[in-house]
Amino acid sequence: MDRRSKLIEILKTVTKQETLPEPGDSLFDSGLLDSFALPDLVSALEQEFSIQIPDTDLNPRKFDSIERIEEYLDSRN
């Protein structure tokens, strides 16, 4: 499974939603993510991609869309 597919699966699991917004669309503005689902998303990313996301990186904007999450993951490689 490629990274985009893994990411989509994580988002579906965390949000319990089957339909996701376009990769560039805001996950918050679309109503998919809220303040209390965001920590679960971050934890799931850490687990799936075997990374430790430091608290200093926990800016919600970095996780606001599929593309932004991918950009963040790229920055960690």
Partner: protein, 310 residues
């Protein structure tokens, strides 16, 4: 050694329902309860100041403990909602309690101030005598400021809590604490003079939901205590969903986290001590069993404090 001798609290009589609070921002009470767990909060009368609330909680604590105000070594008052920059509420609260002459220190720290106060008092009490730590907030004055934000105005309430720390044996021994501060996200939760609260709720919840469990784990690890072995968690009452999330992260049932946010809303630095006071009226610290205090607030400041019943 330092001990928790007694708790105290004071809450205003006026009950403001979530239906009323929601009406200020065009939200219904179901939404308020769903996003926060808050059904009611208390609002003080117009004339009351933070110092008035602090003095009442402090007096309640001293009366329960049977300690005279003049015997205190220090008074600490944590508040993020003081009416003015200086003097802070500590000096007035101490004077109103009958403790004029006793050194009184302000901790202008929203939400986490009482926890920091307990931690510092535990380290000082053997040298300077009994220390009365108070958290007091009059948030109603602040949430009334325009423009009222939907996600902020409905959260807060007024109240005060207190805790007397002594070097003489009390109800629980203060074992250790973990405190942290990081100003990287200081702009995500601010209260400028005369302005409404500015809060980036996503950032606050994200940071709090990581830092609180991490602080608790770090503290418990020092003493090889597993979270399920803790008798009770007495946490800052910010939001029921946050309390549940912290409990879930630690792998303990939410029922272990005492909660009264339903009745009082978020009373910022007062909430943890109000909760502790209420918990201690219906529960005992059991000998040897750990109880954990925890808080997170603007700054960000956060931490956890471990006590054991004696």
């Amino acid at each position: 050694m330092a001990f928790i001798k007694e708790f105290g609290s004071w809450l205003p009589e006026r009950v403001v329902t979530s239906q009323e609070a929601g009406s200020w921002v065009g939200a219904d009470s179901t939404w308020v309860v769903n996003v926060s767990g808050i059904e009611e909060r208390r609002f003080a009368v117009e004339e009351d100041t933070v110092a008035d609330l602090a003095a009442r909680a402090g007096r309640d604590c001293l009366e329960r403990a049977g300690v005279a105000p003049g015997d205190l070594g220090m008074v600490m008052v944590a508040s993020g909602s003081a009416e003015r920059s200086f003097p802070g509420p500590a000096c007035v609260a101490a004077q109103k309690m009958g403790a004029a002459g006793v050194p009184a220190v302000d901790l202008p720290m929203a939400s986490a101030g009482s926890l920091f106060g307990l931690s510092m008092a535990a380290r000082l009490t053997a040298q300077i005598g009994p220390i009365l730590v108070i958290g007091a907030e009059k948030m109603s004055r602040i949430v009334a400021r325009e423009p009222q934000e939907r996600g902020v105005a409905v959260l807060f309430g007024d109240g005060a809590g207190a805790c007397l720390i002594t070097a003489e044996k009390g109800r629980a021994e203060i074992v250790d604490s973990v405190l942290g501060t990081d100003g990287s996200y200081s702009e995500d939760l601010t209260l400028e003079n005369g302005m409404p609260i500015k809060m980036n709720g996503r950032s606050v919840i994200l940071q709090a939901s990581r830092k609180i469990p991490a602080a608790i784990r770090s503290l418990l690890d020092r003493y090889k205590i597993q979270p399920p072995d803790v008798l009770a968690f007495l946490m800052h009452q910010a939001n029921q969903n946050l309390i549940d999330k912290v409990a879930n992260t630690l792998g303990v049932p939410s029922a272990k986290f005492f909660s009264n946010i339903r009745k009082y809303g978020n009373t910022s630095s007062a909430s943890m001590l109000i909760a502790a006071c209420e918990w201690s009226q219906d529960n005992d610290f059991e000998p040897g069993l750990p109880v954990v205090f925890a808080a997170f607030g603007a700054g960000f400041n956060w931490g956890a404090l471990l006590v054991r019943g004696v």
